[in-house]
């Protein structure tokens, strides 16, 4: 193990390390802590410049309720859910199928097709912006929930396929070989042999894609206009314009928009980190 475990440097070093950790953490999360403290203060505190001191009154309920009553925050949050959930379902499904095809079958274009998905996942979105926006306007998908989740699902399919293909490739090929010798149909091999084995990959992808798409801001701007289809990220921006210098409300709204991915991360932490690092550090 590197660096050397701190226990070996004696109890004093260990105690010092443990005492230092909380300070390091507070320093690292300082902006976040500060904004949390702001979100529970009253307007009077903000204006008098009381940022780190004890709040003169706790306005936690007032502030968070105000965000919901004075703006379309609830609508934005719900829109985000309506966009993210279908995206996760579609892209993970497509990626399971495509990843299986690219990992198991040996055909000439398997590698070029795989690289197509990988490359598509790396490109800057800006190169897609004008055509996708134009196509959405033409097909009536502009400013709708469906217009957003269809695009996200297609784009995230690149990353998901990269991930799934590598995961399935790492499975023992004998399993598939022996099923074939038994005469099992190809789709049954997929359904009964491979799918149960890739469950951890599906879980990891689901949390990752949920977080990526929930946090999207660019496409929310490109593909929506009004309140009816805007997700929470674009909503927070709109609130920022509405609550100018009402920092206690802006910070409460920002924190609300951040809650779902954060909860998702803490509940599924193992899968999340496995997902981020799997393709990377085998």
């Amino acid at each position: 193990m590197f660096p050397k475990p701190i226990e070996k440097s004696g109890p004093k070093a260990k105690a010092a390390y443990q005492a230092f950790l909380p300070f390091a953490l507070i320093l690292w999360l300082l902006p976040l802590l500060a904004i949390f403290l702001t979100s529970i203060r009253s307007a009077a505190d903000i204006n008098s410049g009381n940022v780190f001191g004890w709040p003169s009154e706790f306005a936690i309920y007032d502030n968070y309720a105000a965000v919901f009553t004075q703006s379309a925050a609830a609508q934005y949050m719900w829109n985000s859910v309506l966009i993210t959930v279908p995206t996760v379902a579609i892209s993970v499904t497509l990626a399971c199928l495509a990843g299986y095809a690219l990992a198991i079958y040996k055909f000439r274009v398997a590698l070029p097709l795989f690289f197509l998905f990988v490359a598509g996942n790396f490109i800057p979105f800006q190169i897609l912006m004008v055509p996708v926006r134009d196509m959405s306007v033409q097909t009536g998908l502009y400013d709708t929930i469906a217009g957003q989740f269809l695009f996200h699902a297609a784009f995230q399919t690149g990353f998901c396929t990269l991930f799934m293909r590598n995961f399935i490739k790492a499975l023992p090929f004998d399993l598939i070989e022996s099923a074939r010798i038994e005469g099992v149909a190809e789709w049954k091999i997929f359904w009964y042999v491979v799918l149960p084995l890739v469950r951890p990959a599906i879980a990891a992808l689901a949390v990752l894609i949920f977080t990526f798409v929930w946090n999207d801001f660019f496409w929310a701007n490109v593909l929506t206009q009004g309140e009816s289809a805007k997700p929470s990220t674009a909503g927070v921006r709109a609130l920022n314009g509405q609550f100018v210098n009402n920092w206690h409300l802006v910070s409460a709204a920002s924190l609300l928009a951040a809650i779902p991915p954060v909860v998702c991360f803490f509940l599924m932490q193992r899968h999340f980190i496995a997902g981020l690092t799997l393709g990377a550090v085998k």
Partner: protein, 331 residues
């Protein structure tokens, strides 16, 4: 072989075409849905954008439903060449790229600091990873407020250091400052650095988690062997540990490059490219040009996007080449 040849009872005399070519057809059936989707929304639009960059178009159609785009050839690119905003954005993109890269070594050092097994370590590790999970919009807002000279942390700390609080006879509190508090995001000089600092925060968290996983997989026997040989500290890190972290470093660099070139959210939230376009980057400038209040310029926007795509293509080719080398190795 002493065995008698057993007639193959499995194969029917003339299986139909589909059955004979099962292994050639099956992959395509599995691939088609993903390919169609990906082609419509990703592959075809790339070429459409490249093509559109040779037109001038405001995004409108005439009554017959035909596009009003006018062919202008390379004119968009010659305009780009003379556009000072384009060059500022390009320069900022390169600055982002270089400064963003610092996230990789910083992430490594935080990972080294946290790679211990004292009680509660899991909690600390996940809290350090926290910033990566939050959307960039929220991070942008947090830092925008953090830098605010009147209400934010920077302003508060500044007042504590350089200002004197005076209460006038009406009871109003005013501050007398020996130097005015810096308005980081409105300053030509500092605004870009303000955004970099905000953007690097989640990026460091990401690199850290990659390295923490990588450090877990470092071969313990090599470390012990090197220790017996008297290696420690920096030498151990550089010659024994870092080479073993190569896969993690590769992904950290890939994701950091992509993040730097894609950076849009922070700029849109914190400065919208200002003051005077000094913090613009290509990804934001493209958006600004293509969809702005002054009318849409799809053609010109596409030419900016094409330049960005060209830069990215350089990196993508390198990544793919590296992946291809790995693939060849495993076969």
């Amino acid at each position: 072989m002493s065995h008698a040849v057993v007639p193959d009872t499995h194969a029917p005399p003339r299986p139909n075409w589909l059955r004979r070519n099962k292994l050639a057809v099956a992959p395509w059936l599995f691939l088609i849905p993903a390919l169609i989707f990906f082609a419509i929304y990703v592959v075809i639009p790339i070429f459409e954008s490249l093509w559109l960059s040779l037109y001038e178009w405001n995004g409108l159609y005439d009554v017959n439903g035909n596009s009003t785009a006018v062919w202008v050839g390379l004119e968009n690119y010659t305009k780009l060449w003379d556009d000072p905003n384009f060059w500022t954005s390009l320069r900022n993109n390169l600055a982002w790229l270089i400064l963003y890269m610092l996230a990789v070594p910083i992430g490594l050092f935080i990972a080294l600091f946290l790679n211990q097994t004292v009680t509660g370590m899991r909690f600390y590790k996940s809290m350090f990873f926290f910033p990566f999970v939050i959307s960039q919009v929220v991070v942008g807002l947090i830092f925008g407020w953090f830098y605010n000279p009147d209400f934010g942390v920077v302003g508060t700390v500044w007042k504590a250091l350089f200002c004197e609080e005076t209460t006038n006879i009406l009871g109003n509190v005013t501050f007398k400052c020996s130097r005015p508090a810096p308005d980081i995001l409105s300053s030509l000089e500092w605004a870009s650095y303000g955004i970099f600092a905000a953007g690097r925060w989640p990026q460091i968290a990401f690199c850290m988690i990659l390295y923490l996983t990588g450090l877990n997989n470092v071969a313990a026997d090599q470390i012990e062997a090197a220790r017996l040989d008297g290696a420690k500290g920096w030498k151990m890190l550089w010659y024994v540990v870092v080479p073993q972290l190569k896969p993690a470093t590769f992904i950290a660099v890939v994701v950091t490059v992509i993040g730097a070139l894609r950076s849009f959210d922070m700029i849109a939230i914190m400065t919208q490219g200002g003051p005077f376009g000094s913090t613009n980057v290509l990804s934001h400038y493209m958006y600004e040009v293509a969809i702005s209040e002054y009318g849409e310029r799809y053609g010109y926007g596409s030419s900016v996007a094409t330049v960005l795509f060209g830069i990215m293509l350089f990196f993508i080719s390198y990544f793919l080449w590296r992946m291809y080398q790995d693939e060849k190795g495993t076969r």
